[in-house]
Structures are given as C-alpha cells and as structure tokens.
Symmetry: C2
C-alpha cells in the first residue's frame, strides 16, 4: 500500500517515457520529491509547453515552434543541398557528426504500405514542390539502411532525377573502429566489393 | 543546430531525472512528441501536482498528500509494531516483499554527522514521542546494512530500550539464490557464525 495517491499517479505517468518501467519510475519520482522539486516543476512546465507548442515546420516537416523552423529560415545555409532523413533524430545525428551546412527534409517515417505510410504521409508532395522550385541541385538521401529505408531511397532518387536534381546516398561500409569479425555479412560483402585504392 | 528552442529546453529539463543523459533525454522528448503527446501532457500535470501537493506525514514522515498518510490512518494496521526505515523506497520494498501489517517511521536519511544529519534531522523527537505513547511493543529496525545504517540502528535500539520497547533487526545472511562464491566476506562470515540447526 502506498502512502500517497499523487505519488502513485506520478509513477504511473512517468511510465509513458520510453524504457521506463515501474521500478525506474518509482526511483525517478522519489528522486525528484526528495532532492529536486524545482527541477520537477521546471520539467512539468517545459513538457506542457512542448506538447502544446511544438508543431511541424511547413517547409521541412521537422519539429518547430513557428511556421518555419530556424534551420529553414537560416539564410546562411546552402539552399542548393537538401538532405532527406526519416526522423528528426537522424537530422540531429547528422548535425552533430558532420559539418553539413545545407537544408533538410524530414519524412517523419519511411515508405511502408503495410503501416499505411505512402508518399502522401511522408509529405512527398511538399518535397516535389521543393524540387520543382529549381534551387536544389543535390538531394542527399540519408534514409536508414533497412529494407524500407532502401525502398524509400530508391523512390526519392527517381523523384530527384525527374526534376533534374542529382540524388546521392550515404556511403555504406565498415564502420570506423568496427572489428571485421563482428560486422554483419551484408555490410562486409558490400565493403569488400566496393573496395577502393589504398591511399 | 536544433530546429526548435522548446524542444531543446524540454531535453535539458528531462536531464533532472536520475540516470537520464543527453542522449536518453533526446530520445524521450522525440518519443513523446512523435507518439504520445497526451501522455506527455498527463505527465506534466501529475508532476506539477506532485511537486506542490506532496508533503510529509506528520506522524511517520513518509510522503503524504494529507497531514496524516493513508498508512497511519489505516485502523486495520497493527499499532503495536513500528518499522523504522531510512527512505520511502525502503518502505515500498517491505510492503511489496512481506506481509507486514504494522506501521512505519521514515527517517528520510541515516545518522551522518559529516552531512549534518543528526537525531533532529531524522525526526527522532517525533519517534521518541511515539515510543512514549506506550502503544508500540516492538521497534523493527530496518536501516541499511552500511556503516551509517548500523550506527543508526544501534542508536534506535537504545532509544527503544529506554522506553521499554523491544528492538528487533532484520536478519543478516546469505541472500536466497545467492552463490557463496560471490557473496562478500563480511556477510559470509556473519552467516557462518550465525548458522542454525538444519531442519
Ligand atoms: Zn524547417
Ligand atoms: Zn504516516
């Protein structure tokens, strides 16, 4: 039996966070109550603001507080390069890992007819308009190397060519620091076949 | 560069949760925004209610929504047994693991002079009043088996005896399912010395 109904309700609500089970939720709730109520209040406030105040950019479909996001309205970014990713987290990964200074388009998914995700759901009408504007010269296709991601990439490459835009794809191969012994066979076979002259 | 300031602020606020680093916070924020905004709104509401609405029970010091908690006001619980624990989570563990139907007292810490935690900070004046009432017959001391927990237990046992109350202590020994090979020497030595007749 618990001593507080509000505490039980908080623990239950924390379980909406990914990877948070009953035990972790209890630990989180006790931690906030015992040591950081101000942090808990700030989190409540920011959660409320985010859930109601974050929409999708009308141009790139990424998360945005305003009609157009801060990446789309940043005039210093190269509008001739457009990188297509599946999810917002993929854009974050590219921003953090590379020096890319072009623009993005976020599919918010990948072609998956069985899940009801077709060109319309991925905003490809919006992407088509974008390509038709004539400013984009290269479409960098950064979908995931899964079956669905590859099918999506194939579709996007065709779409680019139809508009006279050069499609490109992230290189496949052995990850830096990866040990050959532990790399999946498909990747290893591809890397072997696509081998390059040693420098 | 991020596309949304509100998203950045949410990610930063999520890091007040124990065990949540930058990467996990980002994953949590994206998950809520993409798949469960209602869950995020409910969490915001319950966090706010908990941080401002949960205090400490005036009798047992555990978390409570009201002056006296639901365990203290539950007339069906045995008032002659009082179990002292360090933290609210310890009470939860005992409630879940045992069939104990007595009352509790929560120290919200353990004696630790270097951290400024003395008898006053642990509410021992309140515990003393409780023992003086004469209703408690056994004080079950369930502090942790650490140096500070043992020192606290020793202090509490003396306090109990001063009021004619029998102090008891959780049994030490080999954990069920534990392998002797991996048990710390102190526990093993204690368990060996306190060996009982085999049934
Ligand atoms: Zn945008
Ligand atoms: Zn109470």
């Amino acid at each position: 039996m618990s001593s507080s109904r509000r505490l039980e309700e908080l623990i239950e609500a924390l379980r909406c966070l990914p990877g948070v089970g009953a035990r972790t939720a209890q630990r989180m709730a006790h931690h906030l109550l015992e040591r950081n109520r101000d942090g808990g209040r700030r989190l409540a406030q920011r959660l409320a603001e985010a859930m109601d105040g974050i929409g999708n950019c009308a141009r790139c479909r990424n998360f945005s507080d305003t009609e157009l996001c801060s990446v789309c309205t940043n005039a210093s970014r190269d509008a001739s390069l457009l990188c297509v990713v599946e999810m917002p987290a993929d854009q974050v990964a590219i921003e953090q890992a590379t020096g890319y200074r072009g623009r993005y388009f976020v599919l918010q998914g990948r072609l998956s007819p069985l899940d009801g995700l077709g060109p319309r759901e991925l905003g490809l009408d919006l992407l088509t308009e974008r390509l038709a504007e004539g400013e984009v010269r290269e479409l960098i296709i950064a979908t995931n190397p899964t079956v669905e991601g590859e099918a999506t990439a194939h579709y996007l490459a065709q779409l680019a060519r139809q508009h006279g835009v050069r499609p490109s794809r992230l290189a496949h191969g052995v990850p830096l620091g990866g040990e050959l012994e532990y790399i999946d066979r498909g990747t290893l076979a591809h890397a072997f076949g696509a081998r390059q002259d040693a420098g």
